[in-house]
């Protein structure tokens, strides 16, 4: 056990990916709450989660190159486990209809989406479901208005997709288990 005796200290990579994961974990555990990421760089999420065992769709060529450098395969939306996508307008939504939602047999095959948004302004949403004691409300902008009806149509629980919204170095998680009402 001498190899363990030197005193374990995480390197910068370990510390960063651990903190990123923790933010994502609490974001998904408490839908609607804002959690702090260690960096506004969205590639940090890919770094913490993805490697050569993952298939990724990314509509941003610059980011796609970075994600590929972690070993993940770049694939069309319909084959992706993780989707880095802009949901600001109709173009993103046109892609979203292809998102894998898994099945009742394999809910884990449903994809994880990561999309940019602006918190604190725009449409007001009311959330209920696991992670929320009664209900939670938050405002979000920079997302196409039809996103929520499309999500409701796609998420036939336990099938569905899970969504992380990113605003700078902040993240909000919306797991498929959350019911969303646009106020």
């Amino acid at each position: 056990m001498s190899a363990l005796a030197s005193g374990p200290v995480p390197d910068a990579f370990e510390a960063r990916t651990n903190a990123t994961f923790e933010a994502l974990m609490w974001a998904l555990s408490r839908p609607g709450t804002v959690q702090d990421l260690p960096s506004p760089d969205v590639a940090g999420i890919a770094e913490a989660l993805l490697d050569r065992e993952c298939r990724v769709f990314c509509d941003n060529p610059l980011l796609a190159g970075e994600i590929a450098s972690f070993g993940a395969a770049l694939v069309p939306m319909a084959l992706a486990d993780y989707c880095f996508i802009s949901l600001e307008d109709a173009r993103g939504l046109a892609q979203l209809v292809h998102v894998p939602v898994g099945s009742d047999l394999y809910p884990d095959a449903g994809a994880t989406l990561i999309a940019a948004a602006r918190f604190g302004t725009g449409a007001k949403l009311r959330l209920t479901g696991p992670g929320i004691e009664t209900s939670a409300e938050f405002s979000v902008d920079g997302l196409a208005a039809e996103l929520w009806s499309l999500r409701a149509a796609h998420c036939r629980y336990p099938a569905g997709f899970d969504l992380f919204l990113i605003c700078g170095a902040q993240v909000i998680g919306l797991p498929r288990s959350t019911q969303i009402e646009v106020l």
């Binding site: 200290v9 995480p10 990579f13 651990n18 555990s29 490697d51 009742d104 569905g160 288990s177």
Partner: protein, 304 residues
């Protein structure tokens, strides 16, 4: 390019023992587990330097979460000083530099086998339960692929049937520990072999719970504020162990889950199963300044 550039500098073990790719897989599966509460997510389950069946599933979750500022508590049967708890706790601190604690209040991360502490867990705490058998349907369907289909169809009729048969034969439900519970009104899960006493602690709790079976390679989660309802018939209330009035012979405390210790004279004495609560109560009685947090049970009853 050389072979050396393809890999990191050699180190005997990674921080927290698990290498980066193992942690990434754990993170991906832990997030999916949160997104579908109570649903078993398959994972590769790396081999760790402990035997399968000895908490390797819980260990992989804990190792993924650990950081130097963590404070980790490990209990087995409610006791911090139980041999396997001591072994796991010392491994965790050795590979992560995290602080060890026995105090439920001071812990950021609690790994447990068979118990949930009596003091209420807070929103900033994570509970990791070790799971020997993740499949609540095993008694009615040992085949994993068939059981998976039954979960997909929410086909829990045969599980209800054995509960009903117990009612008819014995006049009560005879399930002991690991009482099956419906999570988020969709998936039946086994809460791991915690006593019935502990299952209501998971219902609409403030903390996050992961349940992980290393040997069976399945993990699932109960996020905060998630409905966890033991399977019961509407006219037969859920029955926890009849321990509410028992008194701990060491600390004098009543109202919590107890260990029964048979005595030479044919009787029994009882002691608190949550050993750290017992220690705190004894020290407080001796006049020490000890903080005991609010407990889930009050006067031997779970408030509705």
């Amino acid at each position: 390019m050389t072979l050396a550039t393809l890999t990191k500098p050699w180190a005997a073990f990674s921080y927290g023992f698990l290498d980066a790719s193992a942690k990434r897989e754990m993170r991906r599966k832990m997030l999916k587990a949160i997104a579908v509460p109570g649903c078993q997510m398959p994972y590769a389950s790396r081999e760790v330097p402990m035997a399968r069946g000895w908490g390797t599933g819980g260990l992989q979750v804990t190792l993924t979460l650990l950081k130097p500022s963590s404070s980790v508590k490990v209990i087995d049967q409610g006791a911090d000083d139980s041999v396997n708890a001591a072994s796991i706790r010392s491994f965790l601190s050795k590979v992560s530099g995290a602080a060890e604690t026995w105090d439920t209040q001071a812990a950021t991360l609690i790994q447990s086998r068979h118990r949930i502490p009596e003091e209420r867990l807070r929103a900033d705490q994570v509970l990791v339960l070790q799971v020997p058998n993740p499949e609540p349907l095993r008694p009615v369907e040992p085949n994993m692929s068939v059981a998976r289909q039954m979960h997909a169809d929410a086909d829990y009729g045969r599980l209800w049937l054995i509960l009903y048969e117990q009612m008819v034969r014995s006049g009560r439900i005879m399930e002991g520990a690991a009482y099956p519970a419906l999570v988020n009104r969709r998936h039946v899960m086994t809460p791991s072999p915690i006593p019935r006493w502990d299952v209501p602690k998971l219902h609409m709790a403030e903390h996050l719970t992961f349940l992980s079976a290393g040997r069976e390679k399945r993990l699932y989660a109960v996020p905060p504020f998630t409905q966890v309802e033991p399977l019961v018939f509407s006219d037969v209330p859920y029955q926890v162990e009849d321990h509410g009035a028992l008194r701990c012979h060491r600390s004098g405390v009543t109202g919590y889950y107890m260990n029964e210790i048979p005595q030479d004279n044919g009787g029994s004495v009882f002691e608190l199963s949550d050993s750290n609560l017992g220690i705190k109560a004894i020290r407080r009685a001796e006049g020490a300044q000890v903080e005991i947090g609010p407990t889930w049970y009050e006067n031997g009853k779970m408030p509705q």
